[in-house]
Symmetry: C2
Subunit: 253 residues, 2 copies
Amino acid sequence: MDRERIWTAALVVIGDEILSGRTQDKNVAEVATWLNQQGIRLAEVRVVPDDPMRIGDAVNALRSTNDYLITTGGIGPTHDDITIDSIAAAAGVPVIVHPEARKMLEDYYSSRGLELTEARLRMARVPEGAELIPNPTGGPPGVRFDNIFILAGIPNVAKAMLQALDGQLQGGRPMVSVTVGAFAAESEVADLLRETENAHPGAAIGSYPFTKDDRFGANFVIRSADGDLARTTGDALTERLREAGFEPIEGGI
Amino acid sequence: MDRERIWTAALVVIGDEILSGRTQDKNVAEVATWLNQQGIRLAEVRVVPDDPMRIGDAVNALRSTNDYLITTGGIGPTHDDITIDSIAAAAGVPVIVHPEARKMLEDYYSSRGLELTEARLRMARVPEGAELIPNPTGGPPGVRFDNIFILAGIPNVAKAMLQALDGQLQGGRPMVSVTVGAFAAESEVADLLRETENAHPGAAIGSYPFTKDDRFGANFVIRSADGDLARTTGDALTERLREAGFEPIEGGI
């Protein structure tokens, strides 16, 4: 294996609605998948409440230990949208109204015959020194401040902002994953899984059990930044499963 | 408002499969909802990879700042199931085979004509001093160690283990939430939301926007441990929305 730089990101999901159980988060999986396409590994996620100190602590802890930090949630016009202020405070910079964002909001509201009220203008506020992230859905933009990417919480808006960032972040090789499934109880294949992983340094095998039609099964996911190694390891695992009397199912069950 | 003790818990979700985007987490919402029923507030969630140090750091940081810590994932029989070892190491205690868990596994496998192999016996390992959490689905048990509750990662098994813990954890009053929805753009109601919240100390109002049939709308969720206060605040908000020309929809949209 060549030694190569691994690029990492962390995600801070901001929102009482996730912690109360009211809303099922969808941004973690979306951000994780997108990061992987950019060759960046999602190293940690924290879900924190709408509390400036808690947001600031999570942001500062994770932005210093990762190449990138993404946040979702809390950038709308209402009193509970405190992400911008919390991040600016954590970084020790003032909040300013971004001229370009102000212009976008003015155009947006005037085209609808509406005024740019103080509440609406909140959506143009950014930590001083920040740039805007385009919002292809037409709403207010996201915000990039240093290595922090501040996205909307609504999943389709967050997703559109990520797409606007496609290829903009430096990363390494995307992680390649190969999945093999079998109707085997995990405990029956634990040894061969471990042995196959040990025989292929640089590849990690995850085992994810399920029951289907009252049968035990598991999917085995081989992951590596080295695509050839991932495939070789997948082939080796397939062979070992077959030898052990299980029918391997390529791509998983 | 009477000052009362607020009980909190944190959740550590252990699993590369969540961070890779392969698996959509379902345990956060489930744990959040269950905790609320016990009168315990979910204060933070961290999703960490299958890495002993990362698991240990998250567990130690969160168990000391919350009344309870729950973990999901990584307690099966395969090489990537490292939760027990990681938590024991973080707490500075050895891992032992729990006699009762061993007996349960022996009974389970012998009734199926199967041997208790080393891989299967892994599921009886616990940090020294731990107790078992019943698993009503019939599989291996969860583990309680001090204020840490170690649950399975498979959502229906995690849920069953939580149900087995119903009423076992000391908590306070459950949080009461009242939802009012309206077809209003958030920026049109930002002021009245803030004013209503300010007029009702002890109640928090969250605003969750959506678009439906090309119309802007939002649900407003009033939350308080004081049920009467939550309802009074909901009534006041309903009145304010009506005055502002929006039709309030009880229970949300």
